[in-house]
Symmetry: C2
Subunit: 113 residues, 2 copies
DNA sequence: CGAGATACATCGCCTGTCAAGGTATCTTGC
DNA sequence: GCAAGATACCTTGACAGGCGATGTATCTCG
């Protein structure tokens, strides 16, 4: 399992990325994350729900209870226009951070040449 | 300036990467970081010195006072064999985390196709 | 002699993660 | 009928890393 500290700061963006496709709920989002990453990563439940809280407080998502006839009740989340804008910004930040980290980490790669 | 939360978890590795090339000290390391990143990133001093403490406690670096005849005194750091091993592991982790984050963030990119 | 750069260091706060614990519903096997 | 396990949500308290604020001492330049 990948160290969560390396992903820290991306949790909210990861959730927003999934909500771009369609409304979803906590458990499903986490299952999708596990599937996409070949079981290499998952959000802990406490992390997931605090992230939802944060996203809703920021106005990036809107929640509503599902109308399932059977099974456990589900709380669905829908991304808002502000959420889409935030997603775009955060992905841009990620691309920049990625470049910077790559540069900083590999600058010593030819040290013993 | 890049959001530090996106770099969180890489601070120690960034420092180790620089010490692969040659022994160095806090201020110089930070100057190099600013230079390499075109002023897009820097470590805050408090972050820098707590990282040194952590690295030394872990046995990844070893420190000694410089013998400057003039100017402020400098505390130099040298990377240890354990530090080199840790660096290699952490860079490998970074590469994996990078792939995973890329996948998770861009999965919704064709949402409105 | 004052301002600003160099250089190191600590304290206390903030934020995000998460182990642990809790609730409720449905399905499956015995 | 009922225990076990999956689905699904949520909260609390602790912890770790980052960092603003603050403090020290030295050197250089005008």
């Amino acid at each position: 399992m990948i160290d969560a500290d390396l992903i820290r700061g991306h949790t909210d963006t990861i959730i927003l990325a999934q909500l771009l496709l369609e409304d979803s709920y906590g458990y499903e989002i986490n299952k999708t994350i596990r599937f996409i990453t070949d079981e290499r990563y998952e959000l802990k439940e406490a992390t997931l729900y605090t992230a939802f809280k944060r996203l809703e407080d920021s106005g990036f998502v809107h929640s509503y209870w599902g109308s399932e006839e059977s099974g456990a009740r589900r709380k669905y989340y829908r991304i808002t226009p502000n959420g889409r804008a935030a997603y775009a910004e955060q992905v841009a930040s990620w691309k920049e951070a990625k470049d910077v980290i790559d540069k900083l980490l590999t600058m010593g790669e030819n040290a013993h040449a």
